[in-house]
Amino acid sequence: MTDALSTARRHRLLILACMLAILVPVAFLAFPSTARAAQATPTCNPTATNGCVNGILQDSGKQPIAGVTVTLSGKESATTTTDASGKWAFSVTADGSYTVTIDKSVASSHGLPGNTETVSIDKSDFSKQRAVVRFDKTNASPAASSKASGSASSSNAKSGNSSSTANSSSASSASGSSSNFGQRFWQQLYSGLIFGLMLALMSVGMNLVYGTTGLSSFSHGEQVTLGGLMTYVGTQMLHWPLIVSGIFAIAIGALTGLIQNEVIWAPLRRKHVGPLQQMIVTIGLSMVLQYLFQFFFGGSTKGIVTSVERGFQIGPITTDRATLISAAIAIVVIVTVTYFLYHTRFGRATRAVSDNAALAAASGINVEHVVRIVWILSCALAALSGVLMGIYLKGIAWNTGAVLLLLMFSAVTLGGLGTAPGALVGALIIGVVADMSSLIIPNDMRYASALAILIIVLLFRPQGIFGKAQRVG
């Protein structure tokens, strides 16, 4: 154990960057277990009596490395060799921490960042029944790891599924260079703005839906995930170019918006089911979608683009081309949507429905049609933001959107629930605060600061920046 820890300390930068624990929901049963030693198995599935440590050994180009000896030590120990597709697995019986090691020369000759990782297994726990070790996973974030390394210990290496996305959003931060405060300040401000723009893209749609139907959609995060995962399907499974895949993802997103409205929300509105009941339905829907994603795509983060772009320097900021293009797309789309809302006939109809649906209907606006378009638009925007987010974060996981959902809520509440420009301003503030706060508080707490804003806003100005006071309550 101490041995494992000291090894871990030596490699803490690398370890921090590459660990992922998969959320595997638990079978809540427990049986009187008979002790067994760890076993190497071809595949491993966690049950009430055993946990799993497994992974795929791949080189930096995603090619499997076969026939490498993998050693498990810690509570129990065993060795195995990777199969033809690079897979290896251990079935373990004792809870506790385990260290997985491959030969150092193998790691260095295949360009892997590390050759050892420590994970913990807890059979009775939701997320700790299975630990996946990927020696090639480097896309977490150099910045986050260098920041956290001050307090490195074996436990922070097991970054859970939610923080893996959290960490990597500051991926382009200054890593190798000196981490003086001024430079970090500008870097965080920049990444906060980028993050805020993407958040704005997803929040605008959510806000439009709230404005026209009074529904706070908890399943909006899954629409974002859907966009990212569909791009993954396009680029990695169908081998389409990125732009085609992105358009494909947006089209699928828009389609789900249409289907959702026709199959679920329109009938519910016709039945006069209240917005609160509908809100709980969105919670159910979000659970269904989230676990369907997990069912089809598994628990790991899916990389959308495999090539790593070279970053470059603009003043004090390090960035890359993909990030800048993403930001540009986000700005253009937000401007277009705003123009659409304020300067077209249909946009005016949308705002009329937001103000007073009954009055709008009485004055000849087809409210159902407006709501249908709003749903399509909202889900398409969410899908687009999922695409951009996936490129920006270098990958998308089944729960990425769910992690972002609360930040969207904070953004729209801050801007003013149901107001059009509110989402943009709110999202930018939330994005900047979330990323800037990591200058002061630990990096993995930075989303908490954004959520704290939500509560503070409600305390002092519950209608938000742009909201009208009578909306509240």
């Binding site: 089911v273 809100m279 959520l451």
Partner: protein, 327 residues
């Protein structure tokens, strides 16, 4: 896979501590939502605070009673913190704030900066906080078999936890039954139906809401303790999903009924285990892996939640006339 094992395992869920913990959490939520109409989406936050309060003070060597008080005190603080800014707001705002607050608790708890206190994302392992609880057990050491099930008497996922958990559920059910039929409970129901009417009678609506938030949260904290006793304190295992499951349980059993949370919890966990075990037993792992079966289980849960809210919002036991969705 033989069917007797599947059925034994599924029925085992009837008495499992997790089922009891969810029943307790749902009873708390019932006080919030069923009685008072508060849209608390942060029940997992109460549970996590309760679990932390108990486990941390236990590992510091406090007595069981002291730790319990600490857990309840934390949930009281949380209720106060949530209640004061938000109880004047509409239900969708309250749901967002409670959800955000619970997430804040979880994010701070799992942060590396808190590793010394909360163990970070690794959490607190059972040997640090279950010792005194197990020592309290009057049962002899060893294993016992009762009807179909065999568990150890005192250690880990034991009969002792089951006894304590279900006694707590019984007490909670008795108390909610008393409260539902007390003048205090009638004021809460009045608040649920029409806040302004209650205000016009000279009652302080905010005070009643905070009382309700605290009492429901206290049950949440106890549920959190029961939830972590057979496993370990894990911030990520008490995330917002737990809140959503609790809502499913409450709405399935029937909000604003005394036995709704109990029935909901038992039906949900037994049915879910039955379905999952059945899928594991019949579908070869080459078609659907064990992880995927788990995911499918939650998909079914989500669909159940949607269907209940749409088709039978009063749940199994509820009365359609007495619905808490009246915004």
């Amino acid at each position: 896979m033989d069917f007797l094992t599947i059925i034994t395992n599924s029925l085992g869920e009837l008495i499992a501590p997790t089922t009891a913990a969810y029943a307790l959490a749902a009873i708390g939520l019932n006080i919030h939502f069923g009685m008072t109409g508060l849209f608390n989406m942060g029940q997992a936050g109460f549970m996590l605070l309760g679990a932390y309060g108990f486990a941390i003070t236990q590992s510091m060597g406090w007595s069981i009673l002291g730790s319990l008080c600490m857990a309840l005190f934390l949930s009281f603080l949380f209720a106060l913190l949530l209640g004061i800014p938000t109880l004047k707001l509409g239900p969708d705002y309250l749901s967002m704030v409670t959800l955000a607050a619970a997430e804040i608790v979880r994010i701070i708890g799992r942060s590396t900066a808190m590793t010394k206190l909360t163990g970070g994302s690794g959490g607190i392992s059972p040997q640090d906080f279950t010792e005194k609880f197990e020592a309290l057990s009057p049962l002899p050491d060893g294993q016992s078999t009762f009807l179909l099930w065999t568990y150890s008497n005192n250690t880990a996922n034991s009969w002792w936890i089951r006894i304590v958990a279900w006694v707590l559920v019984g007490i909670a059910l008795f108390l909610t039954w008393r409260w539902f039929n007390s003048p205090w409970g009638r004021v809460l129901k009045g608040i649920r139906e029409d806040e302004n009417a209650v205000r016009s009678l000279g009652k302080s609506v905010t005070r009643f809401k905070i009382q309700s938030l605290f009492l429901g949260g206290a049950f949440g904290a106890l549920a959190g303790i029961i939830f972590v006793l057979p496993r370990s304190v894990q911030p990520d295992s008490l995330g917002r999903q737990v809140t959503f499951y609790t809502w499913t349980i409450l709405l399935m059993g029937g909000a604003a009924t005394v036995f709704g949370p109990l029935i909901g919890s038992c039906v949900l966990w037994v049915a879910l285990t039955l379905i999952k075990e059945f899928m594991r037993g019949t579908i070869p792992t080459t078609v659907i892996s064990s992880d995927q079966v788990e995911a499918l289980g939650w998909v079914i849960m989500g669909i159940a939640l949607m269907c209940i809210v749409i088709f039978r919002p009063q749940g199994i036991l509820g009365d359609r006339k007495e619905l808490a969705f009246n915004a």
